[in-house]
């Protein structure tokens, strides 16, 4: 038994590490992708390309617009004087937001009437549009508040001290600067490990099926478990090594703090990799060719990442989908990653996630092993 497993492992390691290119492919792309995603994947919306039309052209309107110019969220790229230009700019994607101030804006304010600021927004990217409108609202609200205070102050200085208001006392826990890299980097670790381990495992078995060596192995006395262990142990180790590498990039390069224990992170990674080995093996049992394995892998990867809470919160998904996410190992691993990295929590908090991954991994591995037969039909 041990002799055969040893033989399998030696052979797998030779094949995986023989040539430079495959050695690089195991570790290069995950690190490069970590770097790329770390920079590109961000929820922050800044420098929204903006056009302005000021038909009022008053001191007050210029004052309002200058607040947009000064804001890091808006990048005023065009000052227009014809409404029709807006459509053109938005169609081409040159601007996302157009602000239009009507003639008589300053006069309305002066007379104590409601003045209107029109916001035209390209909502084809709905999330950005929503956030942009939010920012506009914030700036306009602040402006309107300041304007009111100023007028009250100039008419009756005493009143100002009695003006009630709520001041936000912000106490962001875990990520004081709302740095979205801190949010994304742990998630990217999860995604990369998912893609790497699932595809490596699925391809390793299907490739042997395709070139015919699997048939040759099937007629030897090798046991099902020996074969599967021989195929998965190398990728388990490679998965762990990849996790370590990209976590180091996250911590050393992006400065994401690792507040919790490395041990807890390691337990999470091990359980998650086991789940991914199970999925990879399962895909290999339903695929006859590498092409089929690739498509099946894709069919798993995309939904798994989408329904993990990686980019969009699970709580905003439809209820049915939320239930489905409980079957998704990545959902739990992201909890573990963010929990250990940012919150610094331990097993006392994360044990339900660990248990869920353990159970899912066990179920998936069992199904895959049961489905793997030493026969061709």
């Amino acid at each position: 038994m041990l002799g055969r497993l040893r033989g399998m492992l030696i052979k797998e390691f030779i094949q995986v590490f023989r040539d430079k290119r495959s050695r690089f492919l195991l570790f290069g792309p995950p690190v490069i992708q970590m770097l790329v995603f770390g920079y590109a994947a961000t929820l922050e919306i800044r420098h929204i390309p903006t056009a302005v039309l000021d038909f009022d052209n008053s001191q007050v309107s210029r004052d309002l617009l200058s607040r947009f110019t000064a804001s890091p969220y808006f990048d005023v790229r065009a000052r227009l004087n014809d409404r029709r230009q807006i459509g053109e700019l938005i169609d081409r994607g040159d601007v996302t937001v157009a602000l239009q101030i009507h003639a008589g804006f300053a006069q309305d304010l002066r007379k104590g009437r409601t003045a209107r600021l029109q916001v035209i927004v390209d909502s084809s990217v709905s999330n950005t549009a929503l956030i942009a409108v939010g920012y506009v609202n914030q700036i306009a609200g602040r402006f309107s508040q300041d304007y009111q205070r100023e007028r009250l102050f100039s008419t009756s200085p005493l009143v100002q001290s009695q003006l009630p208001s709520i001041v936000l006392d912000r106490r962001p826990w875990f990520n004081t600067d709302f740095d979205s890299q801190w949010f994304f980097v742990p998630g990217v670790i999860g995604n990369l490990i998912l893609v790497m381990v699932v595809s490596l495992t699925a391809f390793a078995v299907v490739r042997e099926r395709e070139i015919g060596t699997l048939e040759q192995i099937m007629v030897t006395p090798i046991g099902r478990l020996e074969f599967i262990l021989g195929k998965t142990v190398p990728f388990f180790l490679i998965g762990l090594l990849d996790t370590t590498l990209i976590s180091l990039v996250g911590t050393l390069w992006f400065g994401v703090p690792l507040r919790g224990s490395i041990g807890v992170l390691a337990i999470g990674a091990i359980l998650f990799i086991l789940c991914m080995l199970g999925i990879g093996l399962f895909i290999s049992t339903i695929s006859m060719t590498q092409q089929q394995a690739m498509v099946s892998g894709f069919f798993f990867n995309m939904p798994a990442i989408t329904f993990s809470g990686f980019a969009t919160p699970i709580s905003s998904m439809p209820e049915f989908m939320q239930w489905l996410t409980y079957l998704n190992p990545l959902r739990y691993f992201l909890d573990v990653l963010r929990g250990v990295y940012l919150k610094g929590v331990g097993l006392d908090v994360l044990w339900p996630q660990m248990t869920a991954m353990g159970v899912l991994g066990l179920v998936m591995l069992t199904i895959s092993v049961a489905r793997f037969h030493k026969s061709l039909d």
Partner: protein, 317 residues
């Protein structure tokens, strides 16, 4: 193996269906110790399917196969210890060195360390790979690869060897060397079941089993088959145009069969001596130029064509 005299391979009413398609239809067979049994038949006849069932790669739909005394459907693992298998697909790892492939298969068969060294040098000698054990397998010429694959398949010295078109894509000289190896093994008592569609290879077998549409249509030694199958004598006709001659001959009474072989015709007649002059005249009268017409000894290919033709006609009727 309780009974040493029992045939190493016993097949009884073996059937394999894939959906509605009957790939193997009630095959019966016995192979003795040291016998080389050749499975002959066109592509899709069921040769490979039969071999794969005997190796435990496919589950029989019905019937029974005993290999080395064990039922392949019930105890495939016991069977696997006692067989070697080599398929038409080259089944070693191209990205491993020669010695790494040997060591890998040796580990799967749990070849003890004490004999491993001797087996390794035996394979290297046999495959002509001495001094090249560090060569990447993928870079070897196909004949050498094939012999290496054979070596890896018999590392554990199995008493039974299954070869599924082992020499496809291998040059003639390598094929002959390969068959010499097979004969050496058979002489040492190894039972060999081999599929092929090279007719010349069939002559190397002790016994031939002709398979057509999943059924055994004939079996016997090459010589027996040739005698039994051909009712009549065989005449070689070299002439032009070939197509016209074929039509004319097929319409001639007393001609049992006529078929194209290469650039000539093979014609089956009751008696060659009396028929040759008649046929010669008949063909020339219709404008066929006859270059050569003489009696020949039937090859296995003739036997095969005549048997499958009879079978095909019988099947339609």
């Amino acid at each position: 193996m309780t009974d040493n005299d029992a045939p190493p391979v016993i097949v009884r009413d073996l059937v394999k269906r894939f959906g509605d398609f009957v790939a193997v239809d009630r095959i019966n067979l016995e192979a003795r110790r040291g016998e080389i049994v050749g499975f002959l038949g066109p592509n899709g006849a069921g040769k490979s399917t039969t071999i794969r069932m005997l190796c435990g790669l496919l589950r029989p739909t019905a019937g029974q196969a005993l290999v080395a005394g064990y039922d392949v459907a019930r105890e495939p693992e016991r069977v696997r210890q006692r067989i070697g298998y080599m398929s038409q697909k080259f089944s070693l790892y191209n990205d491993l060195r020669v010695i790494e492939n040997i060591r890998f298969f040796a580990s799967l068969y749990e070849v003890p360390d004490s004999v491993l060294k001797e087996r390794v040098s035996w394979i290297l000698d046999m495959a002509g790979l001495s001094g090249r054990k560090s060569t990447l397998t993928g870079t070897l010429p196909s004949g050498w690869k094939q012999r290496l694959a054979l070596g890896c398949a018999v590392l554990h010295r199995p008493p039974i060897l299954f070869l599924d078109e082992p020499t496809s894509g291998v040059d003639p000289i390598s094929r002959r060397q390969f068959w010499e190896l097979i004969h050496t093994m058979a002489a040492e008592g190894v039972t060999v079941l081999v599929t092929t569609h090279y007719m010349d290879e069939a002559e190397y077998c002790n016994r031939l089993v002709l398979i057509f549409q999943g059924r055994i249509v004939a079996s016997g030694s090459p010589t027996e088959l040739k005698q039994r199958a051909m009712t009549g004598e065989l005449v070689l006709v070299e002439c032009a145009p070939l197509g016209l001659a074929l039509d004319l001959l097929r319409q001639t009474p007393d001609v049992a069969d006529a078929a194209v072989f290469g650039n000539a015709l093979h014609v089956v007649v009751p008696e060659a001596r009396t028929m040759i002059p008649r046929l010669r005249t008949h063909l020339s009268q219709h404008g066929v130029i006859v270059a050569r017409m003489e009696p020949i000894r039937p090859s296995l290919e003739d036997v095969f064509v005549s048997l499958t033709a009879a079978q095909g006609a019988g099947g339609k009727a």
